[in-house]
Amino acid sequence: MTSQNAPIKVDIWSDIACPWCYIGKRKFEAGSGLFAGAGEDRDVEVEYHSFELSPDTPVDFEGGEADFLARHKGIPAEQAQQMLDRVTSIAASVGLHYDYDNLKHTNTVLAHEAAHFAKEHGKQLEFTERLMKAYFVEGRHVGRVDELASLGAEVGLDPEELTRALEAHTYVNDVREDEQLAASYGIQGVPFFVIDGKYGVSGAQDADTFAQVLEQVWHLRNEENTEVPA
C-alpha cells in the first residue's frame, strides 16, 4: 500500500540525444502542472534514468544528424531530413528551438555519467534540462569532459570534482544499472515513464494525457487505501 499523501513517483528513462525525450519532458512538466493544480495532495517526484539509444555512436561523429541516420541506420538521406524537419516543427510547438544544423552528434554515455554525478549532488533535474538544451538548442558537444564540466558548473556542480569523476568513469556502473532495470521492465524505446513502479507510459504523450494518467493513478491509490480487507 502506498501512502495517500506521498508524492506520486515517476521514474523517467531518457537519452540526452533523444528528440522525443526533450519534447516529452516539456509535455510531462505541463501535464504534471495540470495535475498538481487540480487539487491538494497531488505532488509528483521525478527521477531520471539513463538509456542510450545508440551506444555505438562515436564521440566525434563527422557529419550531421541526417548523415548519422543515413550511415548508421540505413535511412535514405532525404527521408532522414524530412524526419528531422518534422520533429523540429513539433519541438517548436512546445517552445523548444532545435538546431540540427549545429547539433554535435555524439556518444552520450559520458553525459549520463555526469547526470548520475549530478543526481548524487542533488542537481539531477537542473542538469538534465541543461544537458538537453545544450545538445538540441545550443549545439554544445556533450560527449567531452570539458564541456560537461562547464555545463555542470552552470547548475552549481563542482567542475573539478565532476572532471575527476568523468575521467575515472566513477558513475558508469550507475548508467549500466539503469539500463539493466530498463531491460527488466521491457523498455525498448524512450522516453518511458514508470509511475509508482506499477504503471508504464511510453512516448511523448500530450500534456493532457499525462495529467489524466497521473489523476488516474492518484485515484487508484485512494481506492487501494480505502479498501476494507475481507
Binding site: 533523444c18 528528440p19 522525443w20 516529452g24 535511412i75 521492465y185 509511475i195 511510453s202 511523448a204
Partner: protein, 38 residues
C-alpha cells in the same frame, strides 16, 4: 534484475518515442484508416 511486476500500460500507445536510435514521426493516417504503427 528479476521479479519485477509487469507494468500496466497507461496513456496513448502510439505516442512518439525513439527506438534503436530512430525517432520517426508517425505519418497521419488518411481519413477512415487506423494510424500505422511505427
Amino acid at each position: 534484475m528479476s521479479g519485477l511486476t509487469p507494468l500496466q500500460p497507461l496513456g496513448d500507445p502510439n505516442a512518439e518515442q525513439c527506438i534503436d536510435g530512430v525517432c520517426e514521426v508517425p505519418t497521419p493516417a488518411p481519413a477512415g484508416e487506423a494510424t500505422p504503427a511505427r
